[in-house]
Amino acid sequence: MDLSQYYLIWEYMQPELLLLVATILLFFVDLFASPRFLDKWFSGIACVLLAAVTALSCIPGSETHTLFAGMFVNTPMTTAMKMVLNIGTILVLLQAHEWVNSEACRVRRGEFYELIFFTLFGMYLMISSGHFLIFFIGLETASLPIAALVAYNKQGDKSHESGAKYLFNAVFSSAIFLMGISFIYGISGSLYFDDIATAAATDTALFVVALAFIITGIGFKLSLVPFHLWTADVYQGGPTAVTAYLSVISKGAAAFAFIWVLFKTFSPAPEVWQGILYVLIILTITLGNLFAVRQKDLKRFLAFSSISQAGYIMLGVMAYSAQGLTALVYYILVYIFSNLAAFGVIATIEHKTGKVGMDDYNGLYKTNPKLSLAMMLAMFSLAGIPPFAGFFSKFFIFASAVHSGYYILVFIALLNTIISLYYYLLVVKAMFINENENPIETIKTGCYGRTGLVVCVAGILLLGLASCVYGYLSGLSLTVGI
């Protein structure tokens, strides 16, 4: 028995293991610390732990590490993806602080953080998997706790409905996903991504069916049309912090994982999945927009907006190039900041007043100028207005798709940005232009929430202008070798 093997595993799986350690530590803190200490410090500890995980594992080596005979692959790019998710999760935790520590949720506080950490772990596995077994375990680890989280508000009148909708959809789509994997296995005799790529006969109907099933499984998590229908209901009914988590982290992780599956497993037949995605992207963007146009509930509204954003994200997958990969990761990073800024504002206001309707936001600027500005920046960034980060991410992702020749697709996507601009502006209009007899009173944001918002706003403002982020990601994607 060679202890250095353990060390190797530690080194190669650093993010995952660190996260596990953090989870266990958190668990013990929750178990043994006094309630008064926890009231004060628990969120802080969770954030610090996650930040520590990020800090300790954020220096990815330059080479690729494989473990367990190639079932687990850690490359600089995957580490970067995990760090992106970590940043988002920290922001979500910051924003969740006030809600989680409120009277109703305080007793179950520990569950929230640990489940979040577990799902994050599952996502790590998804991203780093080189084998469908790991992928499947990661996928389920990432999605099952979320069902519990969505149903977290036990007393809430909508939370249980959301939980059920999420869970049944998730289980159903994972069954389909498994079916797809079994077909793949039947065709190629292996579940290793690399082996499948070499062994599978791509021109059989079974292969196509398997591909479609697998796309369904992951498309569910990404909420691509027509697998998106749960999204709005779950977002609306779930606790805002969980919704935020779902809309950015879970979606981001799925997109990252999707990339590896498609780029590795299905690399022999890119034109097949590109063809499928072509249609899905158009449907996703368009339907997401069309539904978003008439939403009155802001969380539901953001659900549909996130659906259409998923369509834009997929453009990076379509590109099937290093540039596309860079643009996609960058897009998700920017999307995390923008969407979380929006959710941060919504969470704050919902927590203090219980209002989430767009009409409730009328005249918000008069009473809460800073929150309104943050929300406006978020909306502009989501809509892709310069000089905010969203513009750059959109530009790069379009550029990558055009580079691969998808002019028409990008054109349709661009036309859709006009519709999306319309509904994003509706929010801005409500806050700045519309009059209101009794607007939401002036809200004092707690220090966690404020920190979260400030970081988000800073991200929105600076991510685009600071080109080093994109440059760094671009350097990483070139090492992937697509």
């Binding site: 939980g163 289980v171 498994l178």
Partner: protein, 103 residues
């Protein structure tokens, strides 16, 4: 006499789509859960059969199906928990009653 592989495959497909059908038509959420199990088990059969017939030299499919069964159990546990929660709220477990949020 060896039963050819195709019979197993047909069986698993029938099970799978029976599960799909049951999931879509049954109103009771427990029944829906059972349908899901049917679908998952169909997948397990697939894995086992492919492994046994096509790639007899390895155990990948078998192992996978074991994992799948385990995870299915976890799924069921969470599902039951949520169903209980629903029952507490609305005093029944009909899927039709869960449509407060729509459009």
């Amino acid at each position: 006499m060896e039963i050819p592989m195709i019979y197993y495959i047909v069986l698993s497909l029938v099970m799978f789509f029976a599960g799909v059908y049951g999931f879509i038509t049954r109103k009771n959420m427990l029944m829906m859960l059972i349908s899901i199990e049917l679908m998952l088990n169909a997948v397990d059969i697939n894995f086992a059969v492919f492994n046994r017939f096509l790639f007899p030299g390895q155990m990948e499919g078998m192992i996978f199906s074991i994992f799948a069964i385990a995870i299915a159990a976890a799924e069921t546990a969470i599902a039951i928990a949520i169903i209980i929660n629903i029952y507490r709220h609305i005093r029944n477990i009909d899927a039709d009653n869960l449509d407060d949020m729509k459009y």
